[in-house]
Amino acid sequence: AGICAVREAKFVVAPLLDLITKEEVDIYEVALARIVDAYLAELERMDGLDLEMATEFLLIAATLVELKARRLLPIHGDVEIDEELLFEERDLLLARLLECKTFKDAAAAIERLRERARLSVPRTAGPEEPFASMAPDPLDRVTLEQFVAAAGRAFTPRPVPEVSLHHVTPIRVTVREAIDRVLDRLPERGSLTFRRLTAGARERIDVVVTFLAVLELYKRGIVEIDQPTVFGDLVVSRAEADGPLDLGGLDEWDEAVLDDEDEGADEDDAVLAGEFDDDPRNDAPDEFAAPVPASTEAGEG
């Protein structure tokens, strides 16, 4: 099981990371067959087919095929927008890889803490006599009501863990909410750096989505983006003619919503609710759960 576990961990985050970092693969140029070959080779090295690993295999393979296919599809309409979307798509995948890597490294840190803690053994002997027999029985502190309540908890049905279907579009931070937030923070006159806009972002994905929001607003002519110096801060300001805000097309843009009301979608509400509570626009009926565009065409709407 140990060997299996090591491989498994490598398999979860590393496949794409390794492929990219070790072989410097540009997934848009490498033959898809080569990627699949690499995975098949990995699968063959495993002693038996493990469901978790097989799932992971499918996930990564599907993501790669999706990206590759996108690249190969004929481009209709506005080329610029299409490329922007491609960029967004890649950025989301990048964000996901980085998040994986972050927790992989955090896990290593936790293991180091465990190793260090293992060097010490806590005192657990407890009180010696006569104190030991003075201790009241813990059950004496429990009332019959509390005991029956515990029984109630014990026999309450636990939800059977469902099979997760979120593999393909796992990131659920809504661009619309980010747009609202950007507009809230942006002064009527004057400008704000992107850095300031994302100050307080708790996670990388928040920054990515804020960036997408700024791009979307730019595309709609609502904001201007300027970068005074190379590699300098992006400066965001309101466009001169600030017309009525129309986010209609966004509904389509965010079409890749997982329509089941699952716990993943709830996450958004839970995580973001505090931030947007005072924002009436947050009550918009059409909440979307996934920012990943369903197709390249969707973004043009």
Binding site: D105, L113, T198
Partner: protein, 215 residues
């Protein structure tokens, strides 16, 4: 010796005695109640004990763990203690379980679906393992539809890691991949940049993100 000094000594000795008699870490508030002293005062006395034993060159130390204080063996004595305590060798956690544990530790309260979203795979098996080990527990229900079970880390988790609280975990932003990794990944994923503008934007996105996630 002044009376004040004697009183101080008694406080220290009483704390030591209670820590010695307790099978688990003792909270400062419990000690404060026992000694009928302000919690702040007791905490200061405990912290003084922690530093006193850290430098005393004895076989044991006092540490702040899981919200309380306890005696434990000095890490330098590990070779001797290991030989004596046979069940000291804890079975290792699989890398998959460790990663899931890290997600729970940093993102609690968190649902299985949220963990799965980050790890990209089903986490049911690892969650079961972590529950069995007592590292995580149910901490509530998501108020939204589905009422997903939310998980958090346990007191035992803190004790196993020798941490006082979850807040003493190294901050997550320390693990956000460095610019180099981001660059390598970006390069590979972006391929040829969609347009010159976008490329420039991409260049600045990296540092911006790093700065923001440090907040």
């Amino acid at each position: 010796m002044s009376e004040g000094h004697d009183a101080d000594r008694t406080v220290v000795r009483a704390i030591e005695a209670v820590l010695m008699a307790s099978p688990e870490p003792v909270e400062a508030s419990v000690l404060a109640q026992l000694l009928e002293l302000p919690k702040k005062e007791v905490e200061a006395a405990c912290e003084a004990l922690v530093s006193e034993y850290a430098d005393a060159g004895r076989g044991f130390v006092v540490v702040a763990v899981a919200g309380g204080y306890r005696f434990q063996t000095h890490p330098e004595m590990a070779p001797y203690v290991e030989r004596y305590v046979l069940d000291g060798q804890q079975t290792r956690l699989s890398p998959a379980a460790l990663e899931t544990l890290a997600i729970v530790a940093y993102k609690q309260p968190v649902s299985r679906a949220q963990m799965a979203a980050i790890r990209g795979v089903n986490v049911d098996r690892t969650v079961t393992t972590l529950l069995e080990r007592g590292y995580i527990e149910e901490v509530g229900r998501d108020p939204g539809p589905g009422n997903a079970v939310l998980y958090g880390t346990t007191r035992e988790f803190l004790e196993h890691l020798g941490l006082d609280s979850v807040a003493s975990l190294p901050p997550l932003h320390e693990f956000v991949p460095g610019a180099e990794t981001v660059e390598v990944l970006e390069k590979a994923l972006l391929g040829r940049s969609p347009s010159a503008d976008a490329a420039e934007v991409a260049d600045t996105a990296g540092p911006d993100e790093a700065g923001a996630s440090g907040v």
